[in-house]
Each structure stands twice: as C-alpha cells, then as structure tokens.
C-alpha cells in the first residue's frame, strides 16, 4: 500500500520512509498491545492476579517485557520487509536505527501495557485503546520519527541527540508512571 502511494521516486521515499516505518510499527504494536490482558480475561485469571500477594508492579514489568520483546521481533521483520519491497539499503543506518527503535518501543509499550490493563474490562476496548494511547504517545512519535529521519540521512549522532534525550526522558517518565500506578488500575 505504501509502495503504491509513494511510487518509484527515491527522494520522495527518503522523505516519507521514517513516517511509514513508524506507522507500520505502531499499527502492528497496537494489535499486540491491545491484547496484553485478554488472556487473563478469557481464562478468568484477572481476580487471580489481584489476589496474588506482593508487589503488583512485577506483573506490569513482566507484561511490559513480553510486549517489548514481541514488538522488537515484529519491528525487525518489518524493517527487513521494507528493505525488500522498497529496494533500499538500510545497513549503514542500522546502529542509529537500533537505538531509536529500542527507545521508541519501550515508550510505546510502557504506556500501551498500562492502558491495556485499564481497558481490559471495557466492552469497546479495541476502539478505546488507540484513542487513549495515541495522544499520550505524541512526544514519543515525534522524537522517534525525527531521530529515524536523521539516522537514515546519515547525520552524526550529536545532530539528533536531543531527540534521543527526549525519547529517553519520555521512556523513564512512562515507565515510572506505569510501575507506580499499575496497582491502582488492577484494584477493584
């Protein structure tokens, strides 16, 4: 679909590739993140998690680790597919891309895991989940797309370090907020 929209123009592709790449990551991520706690609902295990004594943030961190791992695997696959279908060589940008992808994925997954818990019991969760998640992700999306654009253009790391700093700061804030608030989301 992206190929049809962008066409064979290489310059046009270079300008839109960062956005297309992250659009693919977000669409695939939303599918997985939204189902984070479906297994608990389907197996009637939600109350079981609540009844488990101890720090509930361990459940959040476990779910987050699973989501990050799954998203990274899908993102690597998507990058490979992009290089094949768009006939582009991303190998010089792989180190820069790896940093941005890891930081961006942690940012997406940390809020996504939290909101998945919030919406797990809601009937219209498939609709509500992206509506809640995407506005909160604006700083992460902005920083990831800008940093990816700079990385793919071969700019030195120092040129887009401020975007990486914003991304890292957002990750820390979202992660800490998730750890601190997860227990209250789980409680009746």
């Amino acid at each position: 679909m992206f190929q049809f929209a962008v066409g064979p123009d290489r310059e046009r592709l270079a300008g839109t590739l960062p956005g297309l790449l992250w659009l693919g990551f977000i669409l695939s991520g939303l599918l997985g993140l939204g189902r984070t706690f479906v297994v608990e609902r389907e197996n009637d295990c939600w109350e079981g998690l609540l009844l488990a004594p101890g720090d509930k943030s361990a459940i959040y961190l476990g779910k987050l680790a699973g989501n990050v791992l799954l998203m990274l695997v899908v993102e690597v696959l998507l990058i490979v597919l992009f290089t094949i279908f768009f006939d582009i060589d991303l190998s010089p940008a792989i180190p820069a891309l790896a940093i941005v992808v890891v930081l961006g994925t942690i940012g997406l997954a940390s809020v996504g895991t939290l909101f998945a818990a919030m919406t797990a019991g809601v009937r219209a969760r498939e609709l509500l989940f992206p509506v809640l998640l995407l506005p909160v992700q604006v700083p992460v999306l902005l920083a990831t797309v800008k940093a990816t654009e700079a990385g793919l253009a071969g700019e030195p790391l120092a040129a887009y370090a401020h975007w990486l700093q914003l991304l890292a700061a957002a990750d820390v804030i979202y992660l800490v907020a998730g750890v601190l608030t997860f227990e209250f989301i789980l409680e009746p």
Binding site: V39, N43, D44, C45, E47, L49, A52, P53, G54, E187
Partner: protein, 239 residues
C-alpha cells in the same frame, strides 16, 4: 474458645446501585472452625466471600480477616487467605505444572520441583502434570486450583461451592484436606447450596437471607433433613 476470630464481620453492608445485597451482616469464624454459609441464589454469599477476599469493597461495616481490615489492609489479607471461587484461575494454554509454578511464584513462594509434584499428586493430577489445562475437565481444573493451597498454606479458606464439579474421590480428598486444615487451626467459610458432603466439614451452619444472617447454629447432630427444614423456613421469602 476465647481467641480472636480469624474472620470477624460486623455490620457489613454492600449495595450495587440501588440494589442492597448485604444489609448489616455479622458473622465470626474462629480458629479451627468451619462455617457453612447457606442461602438462596442472590442472597449475597459470593459477595460476602469476595469482600473477605478483598475483591469487592464493602459499602459500610467492617470485615476483618486474620486481624487485618479487608478494605484498609487488603495486601496483608491476601497473604492470609486462599479463595476457591467459581472461576478456577488457571491458564488453559499452560500445563498443570506450569500453572502451579506460575501462581506459587507470583505468591512469593519458591516451591521445589518435588514440592510441586507432591502438590499435584495430592490432588491426583500427577499423571496430567505436563498436559495443557485446556484438555482438563471442570473437576480437574478445580482440583488444580486447590493444589495451590496445599503449597501456600493460608490461615483462612474462603470456598464458593468447593465440591461442585468434583468426582467422589476428589470430594473425599477435599473433605480430608479441609479436616486437616481445621485441625491445624485454619478457619473456613464455605458458601454452598448443597446439604450433603459440605455440611460434614462444617461446625456451624449460617443461613443468609435478606442481606443478613437469619440463623447461625452449631451443626451438632442436625441431619440433612433438619437443615433443609431450617433452610426452607428462613429463605421462603427469598425472591
């Protein structure tokens, strides 16, 4: 007995919207005692168990379990209780052994492989230890959920229809397990509709009607027919 009750419920009220389920309920369960809670559908038995298990907050009144307030100190209460509810709390894509390891680890226990195998053996699931739970019958799932409490050893057991779905051997095992749990000083509150095997375990029978305990009597020598008559007498106005 003069010790502090393991479960003390005082003036408990719970409303869902305009529907009042519990209305000033009082009940105590002491160390080494089992109380069978009888009542019609919708009488509030499961709601009471869920309040005691910290899954539902009371509208007013107090519910104390093992010295801890269920509303204010839920985390401490959770360390002391075992809940057998309608749901078995098992993941169908995991094996019996994986389920048991997951839940006991989440509860902060670190059981050895031998302890896990022994717990599964005690509920006669040792041969199915490596089978996925999706292939289990309802009774096997119930037995697997009971295996958790063999390892966790809570002080208080909250049981909602614990014998439902169990075969005769599993019922016998559960009866013996509950008797030994009481002998160790544990307290049991058990909601049931049945007047059969459950009542053999119970020391007292409490009938819940109109949101409160309508009758609380020692089981003593009451036969199943006696209990049925008392039940009919106190629940005849139930909707």
């Amino acid at each position: 007995m003069t010790s502090e009750p393991r479960i003390r419920v005082t003036g408990l009220r719970k409303t869902f919207g305009s529907h009042r389920v519990l209305d000033g309920l009082d009940v105590d369960v002491r160390e080494g005692e089992a109380v069978a809670l009888l009542g019609a559908n919708g009488a509030g038995k499961t709601t009471l168990l869920k309040i005691l298990a910290t899954l539902v907050r009371p509208t007013s009144g107090t519910a104390i379990v093992a010295g801890h307030d269920c509303a204010k100190d839920a985390e401490r209460v959770r360390h002391e209780i075992g809940l057998v509810a309608h749901a078995s709390y098992v993941y169908e894509d995991l094996t019996a052994l994986e389920n048991l390891r997951f839940w006991t680890t989440l509860a902060g226990l670190r059981p050895s492989a031998a302890a896990l195998a022994s717990a599964l053996g005690s509920v006669e699931l040792d041969r199915a230890a490596d089978e996925r739970v999706r292939t289990f019958s309802a009774g096997m799932k119930r037995r697997l959920s009971l295996a958790r409490f063999v390892l966790a050893r809570p002080q208080v057991l909250l049981l909602d229809e614990p014998f439902a779905g169990l075969d005769q051997r599993a019922k016998k095992w559960l009866e013996e397990h509950l008797a030994s749990f009481k002998a160790r000083g544990g307290a049991i509150l058990m909601a049931t509709h049945s007047f059969g095997r459950e009542l053999a375990v119970a020391d007292r029978i409490a009938i819940l009607a109109g949101g409160a305990i309508a009758l609380d009597t020692p089981r003593g020598a009451l036969s199943a027919d006696d209990v049925q008559r008392l039940y009919d007498l106190h629940t005849e106005d139930a909707p």
